[in-house]
Symmetry: C2
Subunit: 202 residues, 2 copies
């Protein structure tokens, strides 16, 4: 368990393109589906996308969003950002669009009465299960967030009020890098654990 | 890995009150701290609460929120809800308040430029790491969401713009139940995995 948590990486450049067997894909999705959820609503769904045209179309959209972000950066940060690859949409061969349906479970959701966000948080817990199970299968995951949510909803036919909350690239990898890309490229370093732990009050 | 994902429960009634050793607690928090995060921002913090007065005060607040929810339910659902225990705040002996700091990482967050929610989602990924590591330590976690966010922020001194996003009860347990409480008590059953998996379009 701890080894998988430590080895997990957000993969961009290491996808081989080799197909992941359907049985492994279903085990990984089954792990996601065993996540906890508020009121046991299980508000997630998983759209498996392998159509090369859809992958290429989405990759073009993401490349444009990347350019917008680069242009928004001050000069020195732009130089740091430049070599960082932000997706492996086409190379991985498989996208998993994770969706959140706020209407699932009806109007009386046990636990969402007070904190409405616990609904979408449940779908995020499923993503971490999926990610760790993928490590156990020696399969890489890369979460892409350089996209417009409405664009992605239209691309794969997601009707309101359902929201796409993530595009995950999934595929075989040459390796899991030991150091995360954003550390390797000097974008942002890891905080010490001691800084994140507080006692009794914030 | 798959065994931990399968065994994980949202614990309410099975806390023994026996203290969890500090080394185990730090391993569990260390697993949380190894979660992926957008732009490597690591926007989470963990407030460990063991002061009996704070635990009792929060438990009272949660009991009131539980009553409000029960009153909002139509009759048959109210009867189903009645026997369901929703927290083990006092019995567990330890609360972990997980917080999200949207200001961490400055104004140019790689990956949050397009989907702002990926910030808070990062802190939720840390929660699932924490939960699964706890299973590996034979420690139970129960996520409590029957509270008012501003009340909890004030209780443990969390300043804006930081948000408390979860109260997790953490403690030794008599067992991990095989069937989740909300299934056992007939609140909501599990969907088949096949219903959650779609291909190419939603």
């Amino acid at each position: 368990m701890y080894q998988a948590i430590r080895r997990r990486r957000d993969v961009r450049a290491e996808f081989t393109g080799e197909p992941v067997p359907d049985e492994a894909l279903m085990r990984v999705l089954g792990a996601a589906h065993q996540a906890p959820s508020v009121g046991n609503t299980q508000p997630w769904d998983f759209v498996v996308v392998r159509n090369p045209t859809t992958l290429a179309t989405f990759a073009d959209h993401v490349a444009a969003a990347r350019l917008n972000f680069a242009r928004s950066l001050p000069g020195s940060r732009r130089d740091t950002f430049e070599p960082i690859k932000i997706d492996g949409i086409v190379e991985s061969g498989t996208g998993i669009v994770v969706t959140y349906d706020p209407s699932r479970g009806g109007p009386n959701i046990l636990g969402r009465h007070t904190v409405d966000d616990t609904g979408v948080f449940s779908a995020v817990l499923a993503i971490e299960n999926l990610w760790l199970a993928a490590v156990a299968e020696e399969v890489g995951i890369g979460w892409v967030s350089f996209y417009d949510e409405n664009y992605l909803a239209e691309l794969v036919g997601i009707p309101a009020p359902v929201r796409p909350i993530a595009w995950l690239c999934l595929g075989k990898v040459t390796e899991f890098r030991q150091v995360p890309d954003l550390e390797r490229f000097g974008w942002r370093q890891r905080r010490p654990l001691a800084d994140a732990v507080r006692y009794e009050t914030y």
